[in-house]
């Protein structure tokens, strides 16, 4: 068996006196679709921030494709192949839908500032290439018609999908989705589930999904990790998780003790 794509090994992060994540270990294999669930405040988004370099772990190791990502700036980690979306949508508010995605193609540019100024044929060719890539992605997520719209004017669900498009434009090997279904109606959610599966297959990237909607998580994830108070309390297939007494206790509270 191949080494896992992403490996968290006893990762701990402490903010002041608060241990936001403690001794967390899990792995994601190439092309896998893994869920990460837990009650509010369990530390799910913190895990994303640790993987993408926004926070640095106090202890433990995070390796991606066999190399440590700890201590690297976020943009470098993105360049290595990890892309993410944000729980509280962070699109570039002053840019159009098209430009939001175009910006994410920035790091793959072969020609730099001199070409942008000289505006030679190589530059034009590359800009056209990028436009084609962006349009292809927008097409998949049916956002083509909104190409020139201000991203802030999009409905909530479309903004969430645009964030996924933008993340995909960095050509990730691992995509981290932070509550992509939040604020969507049931039809949109069903649509989203299809899209996530489709992207996983089409782009061959692994997905780590944080989501509160159990239908979505249970419906598409191959394995699920459950966090509570920053610690992993369970791991398994959707069926195993659904019947795990510890998970039920964490979500519903214990009867008595």
């Amino acid at each position: 068996m191949n080494a896992p794509l992403l490996k968290l090994d006893n990762v701990t992060v402490q903010f002041g006196g608060l241990k936001a994540v403690g001794d967390l270990s899990f792995t994601i294999g190439e092309g896998e679709l893994i869920g990460l669930i837990g009650p509010n405040g369990a530390g799910k988004t913190t895990v994303f921030n640790l993987i993408t370099g926004v926070y640095e772990p106090t202890a433990g190791a995070i390796t991606f494709a066999n190399k440590s990502v700890v201590g690297h700036r976020p943009y470098k980690i993105t360049a290595r192949g990890i892309a993410r979306t944000f729980q509280n949508i962070r699109l570039f508010p002053s840019l159009s839908v098209f430009d939001n995605v175009r910006t994410a193609c920035n790091m793959h540019l072969r020609h730099g500032i001199s070409h942008a100024l000289a505006r030679g044929p190589k530059f034009s060719a590359e800009e056209r290439e990028i436009e084609a890539t962006v349009m292809e992605l927008l097409e998949i997520f049916s956002l083509t018609a909104e190409r020139d719209a201000a991203c802030k004017s999009l409905p909530y669900g479309d903004q969430r999908r645009l964030e996924i498009v933008r993340a995909l434009a960095t050509r990730p090997k691992l995509l981290l989705l932070d509550e992509p279904a939040a604020g969507m109606n049931p039809t949109e959610k069903a649509e989203l589930m299809k899209l996530i599966r489709f992207t996983q297959e089409k782009f061959g990237c692994a997905v780590l999904l944080v989501e509160h909607d159990m239908k979505v998580v249970m419906g598409i994830c191959q394995r699920i990790n459950v966090l509570d108070y920053g610690r992993k309390i369970a791991e398994g297939t959707p069926t195993e998780i659904r019947n795990d007494p510890k998970v039920i206790a964490a979500y519903l509270g214990k009867e008595e003790e």
Binding site: Y75, F92, P93, P121, A167
Partner: protein, 326 residues
Amino acid sequence: MFERSKILLVATLLTFAGLSHFAGGISPYYFDILIGIGINIILAVGLNLVNGYTGQFSLGHAGFMAVGAYASSWLTLKYGYSMGSGTLNTTTVFVLALLGGGLGAALAGLIVGVPSLRLKGDYLAIVTLGVNEISKGVLQKAEPLGAQRGLGGMEQHTNFFWTFAFAAITIYVVLNLVGSTYGRGFLAVRDDEIAAEAMGINTTKYKVLAFVLAAFFAGIAGGLYAHFKQFIHPEGFNFLRSVDIVVMVILGGMGNTAGVVVAATLLTILPEFLRAVSRYEWLPEWLRHVAENRMILYSLLLIVLMLTRPQGLFGNFTGKRNSKLQ
């Protein structure tokens, strides 16, 4: 292959070269204002890359102008006469000196930018302001550069063509940069640094790049200024000169190059207009004093603009809301 913006730039330069022949007919007073407009356009459009498109806040632009002015003057004073007196030779020396001044300013921008651009808006404003004041202080003590007496003796090489050619080039560079996929990185940094990093954009690199480019153009503007006035003095590049440029950027609309060009033009003419007003004897004494001191008007303009129209006269500024307070 000819790209539209390139054709436009060449056409503009040719037009300026043609117009330059008629510039001699303008009275010295208006010619002075005209060159001032060109220099301010270079300064403001360059600063707009930092304060407008990249969302940082530099408050010491005149400091980089000073570096360019002194460096280029030093170059022409030292090498200007040893190259012979042909028109071609003096022009070459002048343009090379301008570029030298620009590079010197860019280097200064790099030295200041790398440590200070790790800071957020307010800090950056104060650090750049401080650097502006320090550079002025250093110049006041620098004997080889004339210290408190100022530096003079440069020939008047700056003319209509070179001023507006560099203004056109500045506009070309800024617009083409921010319009490209590469340059969208500046706007991403302004909009949301964390999201920009997550999209693989090296935010530090972009901030420093914007800063260095703006400093380069400020250096060019300083060189043009020095070789127009033929005399420079440390006080000419103080904090208030920096404020002048910042006001142009804000009035024009941060991140709106066309607006900034218009604002730079208007605000170059305004002091002349005010000077005329302050001579009207029928006006009350205090009003004439206010007209004499443009900074009072500028400060009120800043406050009123921010309260009523933060996007500037010509709009196009959207920023991250301050999420800490509701």
